[in-house]
């Protein structure tokens, strides 16, 4: 039975069962801001299978000087610089997420293992003293932000990535994902190091470092000079990296992302070995984008005769042996 409604979209991201493969990419979607601007009950309409908020750091961060974003050919560039109010403020905002049925995966950032540990320790203590809802199911360790000083120094180094993962693994039994950067010659050693240090899964990719000039002055446009490129322009790079990691580490759940704007894009990431797929910049095309992408994914599966979305997983990978 593969009628459009008959497609089984559920996926298991490690120990976490998601009702469908789509999640939001950290930093591109704010549930509470949407709820404030939505006429109905946004929690009931929440389109993603899990909520990944903007990266949280131990202390508040102001972010980079403006300008911070602009459109580029088939994509966009950003240098937000991890602006966020810090873990304490994040914890006090959690009760506002109580009506959320779906799990939350908290994106964590920092410059050293101690920073990541501080955020996770703070959250674990808060969650112990007031266990959900919302259901905080795990963490995504952002070792790959190109827009803060030292942000990439962890994610390009297998040893440093392992150290961050080890520090967090020791503090939690929740799901731990490590988010990888595409700004490396070979992503596989970093991926392997994260998994050997205890990561349950991997997310990839973060943005590609780039630069945009102001056409009038020929000076860098962004306040931070450089930024992170994302959107359809990077999809081929992201697909290649997801496939490389899937072939290198079969069985490790992957959250694929980079330029997903349609259901077909999402299916392509799954064919490259992803279990779940994150939607980033496409959120900026409108509040309705994630629902549309999900319906397109369902139809793509039905049209191809997949009873379960998982039937597509790995179709693009080189066959073993």
């Amino acid at each position: 039975m593969t009628g459009v409604d008959g497609v089984d979209l559920r996926v298991d991201l490690g120990s976490l069962t998601l009702e469908h493969p789509l999640v939001d990419a950290s930093g591109t979607f704010d549930l509470l801001e949407n709820a404030r601007r939505f006429r109905g009950d946004y929690f009931a309409a929440f389109p993603y299978a899990a909520y990944v908020p903007k990266t949280v750091t131990s202390g508040p961060r102001e972010g980079n000087p403006p300008p911070r974003v602009t459109e580029t050919a088939c994509g966009m560039i950003n240098a937000i610089g991890l602006e966020n109010p810090g873990v304490e403020a994040f914890v006090s905002s959690l009760p506002a997420l109580r009506p959320l049925r779906q799990p939350v995966i908290v994106s964590v950032g920092g410059n050293a293992p101690e920073d990541f540990a501080a955020v996770v320790r703070h959250l674990e203590e808060a969650l112990d003293s007031s266990p959900g809802p919302p259901h905080v199911a795990g963490y995504e360790l952002n070792v790959s932000c190109p827009n803060v000083r030292g942000g990439l120094s962890i994610g390009v180094d297998p040893g440093a990535t392992a150290a961050v993962t080890t520090a967090v693994r020791a503090l939690t039994s929740r799901l731990v994902l490590v988010k990888l950067t595409p700004n490396v010659t070979d992503v596989r050693p970093v991926a392997r190091a994260a998994v050997q240090a205890g990561a349950d899964g991997l997310s990839l990719v973060n943005t590609l470092r780039g630069m945009v000039l102001d056409p009038a002055t020929l000076r860098p446009f962004l306040g931070n000079r450089t930024g992170g490129l994302c959107g359809p322009a990077i999809k081929p790079v992201a697909l290649r990296m997801v496939a490389e990691v899937a072939e290198e580490l079969p069985g490790v759940p992957l959250v694929g992302m980079g330029g997903v704007t349609s259901g077909r894009d999402a299916l392509e990431f799954i064919a490259c070995g992803a279990t779940a797929v994150a939607v980033g910049a496409a959120n900026f095309s409108g509040l309705e984008a994630p629902r549309r992408i999900l319906e397109e994914l369902r139809r793509e599966c039905a049209a191809r005769g997949f009873a379960r979305v998982g039937d597509a997983r790995g179709l693009a990978l080189a066959r073993a042996g």
Binding site: G27, T28, F29, D30, E33, N34, R36, R37, F38, R39, K54, E62, G63, P66, P67, R68, V69, T70, E71, C74, G75, M76, N78, I80, E83, G231, P232, T261, A281, A282, N283, F284, S285, G286, L287, E288
Partner: protein
């Protein structure tokens, strides 16, 4: 629904903001030089819209990842007016939209010009920054406020935009003197005779806003500025649109675009 909520103490208004997208038919498109005045049928938006607010518009035809922020130029009945200046590929496409086409529009978004309890208002606009001031003039005029407007344009071609406006007391300057007075719009301010209870509203290039800020400070006038920033989401999610203010870095799409003039930090 509570379309309007004033947060006490911060001196400007936070009306309802709505992110859902409406598919709107284009009912009018008139060209004025490099400007196009569009009218789209958007009752859900015009019902709620307040002067100073903006909408996020999808560039039709595909090929653009981000929507474009456009000020609400007019809101008359169920017709939402937009004034578009072709400045790059996205705005060029929007300026070329024809009657009968459909546009995807989300809004109204952002903060509004406070329009209550005023007696006299001076509206200062530069180039496309004049756009949000027509809606403000309409709203103030309807409540009997005396409205004077001073608009500055580069040259005669840009000044053709004045044809899209309907403001009785409108002064125009052009930098090359081809239309109205020669010079910058802010040169005109000293010459405009306004009562001391006047509130000043401005929108335009950063240098113009800085000059208006200096002038209102010297004259002891209350003022508000609508600021521009490159945006990604338009709905408070990405923190891509922040500007420096005396209250720290704030989002133009959410805390703005309208800020009290004395909060604006000009570089």
């Amino acid at each position: 629904m509570t379309p309007s909520a004033r947060r006490p103490g911060d001196g400007h208004e936070h009306p309802g903001q709505w992110a859902e997208t409406s598919r709107c038919r284009v009912a009018g498109a008139r060209r004025f030089g490099a400007f196009t005045a569009l009218e789209v049928l958007a009752p859900a938006i015009t019902r709620e819209a307040r002067p100073g607010q903006f909408v996020m518009v999808t560039v039709p035809g595909g090929g653009f990842l981000l929507r474009r922020p456009l000020s609400i130029f007019t809101a008359r009945g169920d017709r939402l007016g937009l004034l578009v200046e072709a400045r790059g590929p996205g705005s060029e496409r929007l300026a070329a939209v024809g009657v009968g086409e459909a546009l995807e529009v989300a809004g109204p978004l952002g903060s509004a010009f406070p329009a209550a309890d005023l007696r006299s208002a001076l509206l200062v606009g530069g180039g496309i920054g004049c756009a949000p001031l027509q809606f403000l003039a309409d709203a103030l005029g309807a409540t009997g406020v005396v409205v004077t407007a001073a608009f500055g344009f580069r040259d005669a071609r840009q000044a053709r935009a004045t044809g899209a406006f309907d403001i009785a007391r409108l002064w125009v300057t052009t930098e090359d003197g081809s239309v109205g007075r020669r010079g910058m719009v802010t040169d005109l301010l000293a010459a405009v005779d306004v009562p001391p209870s006047t509130t000043v509203f401005c929108c335009g290039p950063a240098a113009m806003i800085a000059a208006v800020q200096r002038w209102t400070a010297t004259e002891g006038l209350r003022g508000y500025a609508s600021l521009e920033a490159h945006m990604a989401c338009g709905v408070g999610a990405c923190h891509g649109c922040v500007v420096a203010t005396t209250r720290g870095a704030l989002r133009v799409c959410s805390e703005g675009p309208v800020f009290p003039l004395d909060e604006v930090v000009t570089g």
